[in-house]
């Protein structure tokens, strides 16, 4: 009985996720979707062709966006790990800092947009790659901080104390204790931060001034709900890139962890 309940819950979840995604894929490959057709009338690769070949420099823009978002995610994870470690302890003003960390998640970006833009112009970061990288990191960082704060709290001191007993200090401690324990968190944090960064349209356009083109800046103008083929094709490619990046990151991190174990065995 309980088994049936579990399975039906899981199936509902699956359907909820699958059906919209399938619809998205179908729309991206299909032409002619008037009522009452359930599926598009004909198969067409037109929008993929436009997206991959005809839109100027799309491939190089895509590659640069992957680089940009990887850098943002890496930076966010590093800073987040540090901050999470700091916040797992207790010190004066900790609460204030915790609240501060949440700010970018709670304040709508449009509110602070103009002010941000002025700050970045003054710092000579406007219209530049570095400027966009920094502002995207600001937005992605809180997710990483949250993940690592919680993770550090859950892990607690005991593993580190144990490690100390065995002489694992400094970078050895990082490699054999911290990193493996945090690896799950690193994977999720990198994943979320990459996605957040890759999806940023408004700040990239604002701070990048239109000069820094990312996958998002090319994709979002088409999202006005008009041509479903082109918007869903962009979306499918967007998803594929994100998923691939997450997989790659997972493989990299896990291989490091495994290597760590192997060297312990030695």
């Amino acid at each position: 009985m309980r088994r049936v309940l579990k399975l039906s819950c899981l199936s509902i979840m699956t359907l909820l996720v699958v059906i919209p995604l399938l619809l998205l894929v179908a729309l991206s490959f299909g032409k002619g979707y008037e009522f009452p057709r359930v599926l598009p009338a004909e198969l067409s690769f037109e929008s993929y062709k436009y997206l991959l070949y005809e839109h100027p420099r799309m491939l190089s823009i895509t590659w640069r966006s992957i680089q940009l978002s990887s850098a943002v995610a890496t930076l966010s994870v590093l800073l987040g790990m540090l901050a999470g470690k700091g916040l797992s302890g207790d010190f004066k003003g900790k609460k204030l800092i915790e609240r501060l960390m949440l700010l970018p998640l709670l304040i709508p970006i449009v509110s602070v947009a103009m002010g941000l833009h002025i700050v970045f112009i003054k710092l000579h970061l406007a219209n530049k790659f570095v400027g966009v990288l920094l502002i995207q990191t600001v937005i992605a960082l809180p997710y990483a901080v949250l993940i690592f704060t919680d993770l550090y709290k859950l892990i607690g001191e005991k593993w580190f104390e144990q490690g100390d007993l065995y002489g694992a200090v400094g970078h050895k401690r990082f490699m054999y204790v911290t990193f493996p324990l945090l690896s799950e968190g690193i994977i999720s944090a990198f994943g979320i931060c990459f996605i957040v960064s890759f999806s940023q349209y408004f700040v990239t356009v604002l701070i990048g001034g239109g000069r820094i083109k990312t996958f998002a800046t090319e994709m979002f103008p088409f999202m006005n709900g008009g041509d479903f083929m082109i918007s869903s094709s962009f979306s499918v490619v967007f998803l594929v890139i994100n998923v691939m990046m997450l997989l790659v990151m997972e493989v990299i991190v896990r291989s490091f962890v495994r290597r760590g174990y192997h060297s312990i065995e030695r």
Partner: protein
Amino acid sequence: MKKTTKQMLYTMPAVIFIAGTILVGAFIAVIQSFGYFPEIGLKNWTTEYYRSVFSQPLLFHSFVYSFKTAFLSSVVGVGFGVVSSYLLVTYNKELNLYRRFLALPVAVPHIIVVVIVFNLFIRTGFVSRLLVGSGLLESFEQFPSLLFTDSGFGVIAVYFWKAFPYTIMVLYSVLRSIHHQYRPVSMNLGARNYQYFIHVVLPMAKPMILTTSIILFAFSFSAYEVPFLLGATVPKALPVQAYIDYTSPILENRPYAMAINVLMMVVAFVLIAVYDFVSSSVERRRNHA
């Protein structure tokens, strides 16, 4: 150096990043809301924008609309996510691939979800076509109007679809470590499954669940894209009104937008205060127990 100082220093880079940008931006937003917008020649400090915003009869309805859509989508989404994560954790097999599949919606930008929901639920949309095609409905006219109504259905659907996968993604590892640490103990002490879930798992996961809910709520409360494209024409969600004022070619309307934005920021702060209150009472209860 002292351990605690060291810990504080660890947080500094992140703090500087965030403070240096967001706080400055928020500060400028606040002064603009009081009418100080020298770029277009407005230099008088005034509360007229706030007065005007608050005297709008529709403001209350906009607030309620935003609150309702954000609240329902977050609560139901997180609830669903918690239950799903728990099911995944307690399933006998690992289900890694499946878990990652369920997290896919997190990578789909909101605006794309809007396109999907639009195509699913307009009266001539996918769901309607299935029903008409299978004969359950005679024509699309019998299909209810779900979108663009003040039920907020479309908006809730979009945010819900993003909320529960995000919850699963974030909560799974937490639940799993709780499971490994406390399940054997609970079983030894004779707890039954639902007791274990309610009295052990939930309390331990509460901070994370709360934080996630607040983040989701705050985001859906203050983002304009989704209610702008799928919401009712009246009442407009708060961020939609702010967006319209912000993008108005009459730049003198910007302070109205800023006033509404500041209002939304205040709501966010109130949320944090609520979170504080709830989490400290959880602490208190735990200490008493």
